[in-house]
Symmetry: C2
């Protein structure tokens, strides 16, 4: 089954919309947030807990799985779904972003990127065709084309070259695609240059993918520029296809992008911050390591009904964090992912009842970051 996208409601005052993305392994209600499961596990949670929180889709990183344990090994074991015990939708990235951010000695040519593994220094080449083949071996529902993500800041010539290469790679990725199920998404680049963003949108969308991602943001450009690029790019992507903003962001970032018509999100913030002792709460960020919580009997967030807030005090969370207990990462991750799941639920609800503009105003007024 190929991916199908249906818009179910539109906000009258903004570009926000609700919809459903139907894939082989389930249907996502959008706007949706996808937890990051880098090495075939969302760190610190059982797959069943993700389902209980209402998650229908997890992202996993092709770069990491390609290196360890290897995509052929995962294919032999029945694919990534079976391997990680997750029977709902899986999205994999192309591996390109990690090649550019984690590996060393990379050499970018039109044919492929050659790089050294950040684990053992071994030499590898990633071409658009290879990125598709690896993801098809993994068997993910949503797969991403290989793109060239430039750092920030970058000069115009460099970004222009990346846009050209990204379009060529998108075409080759599409031609290399063999798997009917699910679909391969195109990715738009263009750095922080408005005309190059527009050019990338036109070139990539001409190739007719079942969904499009906004790449090349959240690379250090700051909130203002990021939002400018999202506001510029998202509405130009085809309205009848799902739009995915890669690697973004905070609850407020998501709110902004939804208002510009974005449907899908992923970000390491809720899970990584949890492991660093930082909780998202309805009253703003809370750092459990602070001494003021040493004897605090209250739950992390009084408005939260997650399993962590139902049973444990701030004092206990602080104790576990200071003792470096495994349970600390477990409890805090469940809370943060629960918070994000409820946040997306409230966004969808507000759009469906035609109340999104009010919801944005109230949220920003109450200090959501």
């Amino acid at each position: 089954m190929a991916i199908s996208f249906t818009v179910t409601a539109r906000d009258p005052g903004t570009d926000a919309r609700t919809g459903t993305v139907a894939c082989e392994h389930g249907t996502l209600s959008t706007p949706a947030f996808m937890p990051v499961g880098t090495a075939a596990t969302v760190k610190g949670v059982w797959p069943g807990q993700l389902r209980e929180m209402g998650y229908d889709c997890v992202l996993s990183n092709t770069y990491h799985l390609y290196l360890r344990p290897g995509h052929e090994r995962i294919r032999n074991l029945g694919g990534l779904h079976r391997f990680m015990g997750w029977d709902r939708v899986l999205l994999t990235d192309s591996g390109g972003y990690q090649v550019f951010s984690l590996s060393s000695l990379r050499k970018v040519e039109d044919g492929a990127v050659t790089f050294r593994s950040h684990i053992d220094g071994s030499l590898h080449a990633l071409s658009p065709e290879k990125a598709v083949a690896v993801q098809e071996a993994l068997g993910s529902d949503i797969r991403m084309v290989l793109d060239e993500c430039v750092e920030y800041p970058a000069g115009r010539r460099e970004v222009e070259e990346a846009v050209r290469r990204t379009t060529g790679w998108a075409r080759r990725s599409r031609e290399a695609s063999r798997r009917e199920e699910g679909g391969l998404f195109g990715i738009v680049q263009g750095g922080m240059f408005r005309d190059l963003r527009v050019r990338s949108v036109e070139e990539v969308c001409a190739l007719d993918f079942p969904g499009y991602a906004i790449g090349g943001v959240s690379v250090g450009e700051g909130k203002e520029l990021q939002r400018e690029m999202v506001a510029l790019t998202a509405p130009r992507l085809p309205a009848e296809k799902p739009r995915y903003l890669m690697g973004v962001g905070t609850p407020a970032d998501i709110l902004f992008a939804v208002s510009r018509g974005v449907d899908l999100f992923d970000c390491v913030l809720p899970t990584r911050n949890a492991r660093n002792g930082m909780l998202f709460t309805s009253a703003g960020p809370l750092s459990v390591k602070q001494a003021r919580y040493a004897e605090d009997p209250l739950p992390a967030d009084g408005n939260c009904d997650c399993p962590t807030c139902r049973s444990f005090s701030r004092a206990y969370l602080r104790h576990l964090y200071l003792q470096k207990e495994i349970l600390s990462s477990m409890l805090l991750t469940v809370h943060n992912l629960h918070f994000y799941a409820r946040w997306m639920e409230r966004i969808r609800q507000a759009i469906m009842v035609g109340n999104f503009g009010e919801f944005v105003k109230e949220s920003l007024g109450s200090g959501v970051e």
Copy 2:
């Protein structure tokens, strides 16, 4: 409510028995195994998962909680049950074992042991009265008297002195006990000297505690000596009181001790081994790190219905372990604790149907270690 113990079945061929220990926070079916939750958490599992596995009692370590976050702090937060989100039975040790094994610069006198914290080197004194007071602040159901646990090997004079001191401390602990609920257990020492074991049993049991523990084993003496001491000591403890073998052991160790009339067990083996990649299975120990499991699609134990074996392959467990993923400790700990819970269930079942002798023979024949 004070502790009450009822024997519900006796094996005709051995000293094995089933029973119930009724405490303020619930009732244990014995023989029972208690997972170790050192710092107010059984590492890697949610309290709810322990309940789902059938555990009714968790052990926590007084030494660790006294140092961090402090017993007064836990008392102020409503006690250890509320602090760690565990509403069933809690057993705390006296702190003595860790003072002798973890701390430095200890000085043992009749009045108290003085020692330096293994965390920050701060100086502390632990007396029998203090050990009782700390445990009463924690609010545990079953509390242990302070005893002197000697290393192995130890000379006769040293052990004789420890027996004398242990008896004196037991008497003082009993006198210091203020809390009606639950109960304070006595502990028998005596090293590897048969006559000193017998003397310690006589002296400590004369003080009439609601339960008795066999201490001073699992200190490096080896299986043969350990079993000799258990076989000597357990049957001499009052039959109408629960008998607790501290810090033991493997499934086979437990089987042996049950056959000599022991009712309660705790041990770090299932949880610590899990974190080191070692699983208990019906076919013997399994080390997930081995290369032979790299593409093995089978569950860790084909005869196991735990959440780990129901969903995940050996290949996935190996991958998580090698990647040092948090989920590795989580999945392996759940499996091992599930294995121990089922093991105790089978032991109780065999005793109740009068089939324990056969069960022991079959188990040892099938390679249980």
